[in-house]
Amino acid sequence: MSDTKKLLVDPLSTNNPITVQVLGVCSALAVTSTIANSLVMGVAVIFVTALANLTISLLRNLIPGRIRMIVQLVVIAFLVTLVSIFLKAFLYDLSKELSVFVGLIITNCIVMGRLEAFAMGNKPIPALLDGVGNGMGYAIILIIVGAIRELFGAGQLMGFQVIPEAVYNFGYENNGLMVLPISSIFLIGIIIWIQRSRDKELVDIS
């Protein structure tokens, strides 16, 4: 039981895919401008990592070593296409806003990295849990960054105004930097800093 829990909880903190494994930084930084965007992207990635891990783990004894990359890519691309079509059908505005970044989940290193590192050598159920765990670890960072950016960039959370009008009348202004995608890079840098000062084992020695 503790093993299954470990698979799910570890990626949230001590083995976080973004801040510790440095996987999957690529596709999502530009889309964390609001919590809603982060949530959709997070859920999409959880779906893809979980099902891709499960599928590859089921197939792991059938896939020849030399062409495993291409097999993995096809499985991932299939799942991402499903997500992309689903978003276009039910959340059209959001899918416009996320534009090419949904497609780029294919090359999101988390998916590929977990397939290579875990699903190729483990049974289907642990692989599924590992996928869900890593997807959540990714989503949680995205949501933290999205929340900070939305709060300071627009004074809102989930689209509701949380900083009252009176504060603006005193001369408070929204932070222009937080609207730019570049701020997410700084925020993740700072998250890494905080995490590593709390957990000394993660510090880079080199």
């Binding site: 999957g24 596709s27 780029l104 999101n108």
Partner: protein, 204 residues
């Protein structure tokens, strides 16, 4: 002149790494020394310049609405295979990378040795697929797509060599321990990105 414009735009104003944050994984992982960064950067230019036009052809002659009509007859005039795009583009990229690897291995073993490990990694570099997808949303033509591929590859090259140079110098400075390595790399990327954003709005 238009080509120069596209090149400059894709390399500086819409830099893959520093403006769109694509290809971050390899950007952060392989930027510890300038020498390896140059190798990876060169490989990315090469692959982007090849895959962008090929994927343009694939889309134009196979996937686009009505593209099948000249081959299979008028009954297919309204068929659009656009939804297969992602799978096909990534397959094209994977094959092209494999092909480029074999060609380089045959004709220039020296270059192969220096690029060797990075070439297969490029398949999952987001900037390659990103290049294709952006090229499609921008609706470039064939020759423009070649220039766009080369330009964005060059942008990646510039960014990764730049950050590698800074990180080499940074070894001698006294960074707080928890920020060392990855944390610092993120903040550096942010600062470089701010610098590149200063170029925004330039028109040639």
């Amino acid at each position: 002149m238009e080509f120069v414009n596209i090149f400059v735009k894709s390399a500086f104003l819409e830099n893959m790494v520093l403006i769109y944050f694509l290809g971050m994984c390899s950007f952060l992982a392989v930027s510890k020394s300038v020498k390896t960064a140059v190798g990876l950067g060169a490989a990315v230019i090469f692959v982007l310049a090849i895959t962008a036009p090929i994927n343009w052809c694939v889309r134009e002659f196979l996937l686009k609405e009505g593209a099948l009509a000249p081959i299979l007859g008028d009954a297919y005039a309204e068929v659009s295979l656009e939804f297969l795009g992602l799978i096909i583009y990534i397959a094209v990229i994977a094959t092209m990378v494999q092909l480029v690897e074999m060609i380089i291995e045959k004709y220039s073993p020296a270059l192969y040795m220096s690029l060797g490990i990075f070439l297969p990694l490029i398949t999952v570099n987001c900037s390659i697929l990103g290049g294709t997808l952006f090229m499609i949303t921008k609706e470039y033509g064939f020759s423009e797509s070649i220039v766009y591929g080369m330009g964005s590859g060059f942008g990646f090259f510039l960014a990764i060599v730049g950050i590698a140079a800074i990180r080499e110098k940074l070894k001698y400075s006294d960074v707080p321990a928890p920020l060392r390595g990855l944390g610092m790399a993120f903040i550096l990327t942010g600062l470089m990105g701010l610098g590149f954003m200063g170029l925004m709005g330039i028109k040639l």
